[in-house]
């Protein structure tokens, strides 16, 4: 959740680049709503039935604290035409991109079109 908090804190920088941050997890609606309340400038999606997470193949089995599945932390940049411009997955589940790194990737792959 630190990652989302950092992205929320920099929401104006994303808005300046005409980029919105969409956060997806396989948690249910109740958790997604709480996440949305915590981070009002992000678009929070719930993928409880894993439609999207399985289509993108980001399910990380047995990685939740209780032994359940989670979505492997993955960041994908998609342009306004729906084309994938960049994909990043850290080598460790405890690593994340900083907002500055995400913004640099946006500048490099999305705003130079």
């Amino acid at each position: 959740m630190i990652e989302l908090g950092e992205l929320e804190r920099r929401h104006e920088d994303f808005a300046r680049r005409h980029a919105r941050v969409i956060a997806v997890s396989i948690e249910g609606r109740e958790e997604a709503q709480r996440t949305q309340d915590d981070f009002p400038h992000l678009v929070v999606l719930t993928d409880q039935d894993r439609t999207l997470s399985e289509a993108v193949d980001v399910i990380h089995p047995h990685s939740a604290p209780g032994g359940g599945d989670t979505a492997a932390p993955t960041t994908i940049l998609i342009d306004r035409g729906g084309t994938v411009r960049w994909l990043y997955r850290p080598s460790r589940a405890i690593s994340r991109l900083s907002p500055d790194e995400v913004l640099a990737a946006v500048d490099r792959h999305l705003t130079s079109e």
Binding site: I2, F14, R20, A23, V24, H60, A64, I76, R89
Partner: protein
């Protein structure tokens, strides 16, 4: 007559090695806590490396003088180093080999927003660029 070679230099008991060893292990944990508090989510390789070095220092102290306290310190720090290595290796993620590829269209989908309203792949094409972030969960 006493020559220089006869002078016996007292050998340190190595207590400072124990202090440094324990200090390194504690410092590494404090550094990770500080990194977390600063919201820097980097892989903390320094954590098991420093703790392992701490165990080596305590082991060296044991070589100079044995004692139950030193053995206990070595066991605790060595176990801690093992747990930290395990933690790092257990969090390794497989490389992405899924169907999404740069330059290709993002797969179509239909799911819901947090408020229950629908959100589909077409919505990605409505409103500027998108940074799609899959996250593990609220915990």
């Amino acid at each position: 007559m006493t020559t220089a070679s006869d002078v016996e230099i007292p050998r340190s008991s190595g207590r400072w090695l124990v202090v440094c060893g324990l200090g390194l292990a504690l410092l590494a944990i404090a550094a990770y806590a500080a990194q977390f508090a600063a919201h820097r989510l980097l892989t903390p390789w320094y954590l098991p490396v420093a703790t392992t070095l701490g165990a080596v220092l305590i082991g060296a102290a044991l070589g100079r003088r044995r004692g139950i306290g030193r053995w206990a310190a070595l066991v605790v720090v060595a176990l801690l180093a093992g747990a930290e290595w395990l933690f790092l290796f257990a969090t390794r993620l497989p490389e992405y080999t899924g169907p999404v590829a740069v330059g290709e269209r993002f797969p179509s989908f239909e799911i819901t927003r947090a408020d229950g309203t629908p959100f589909a792949g077409a919505d990605l094409r409505d409103d500027g660029n998108n940074v799609l972030v899959f996250f593990r969960g609220r915990w």
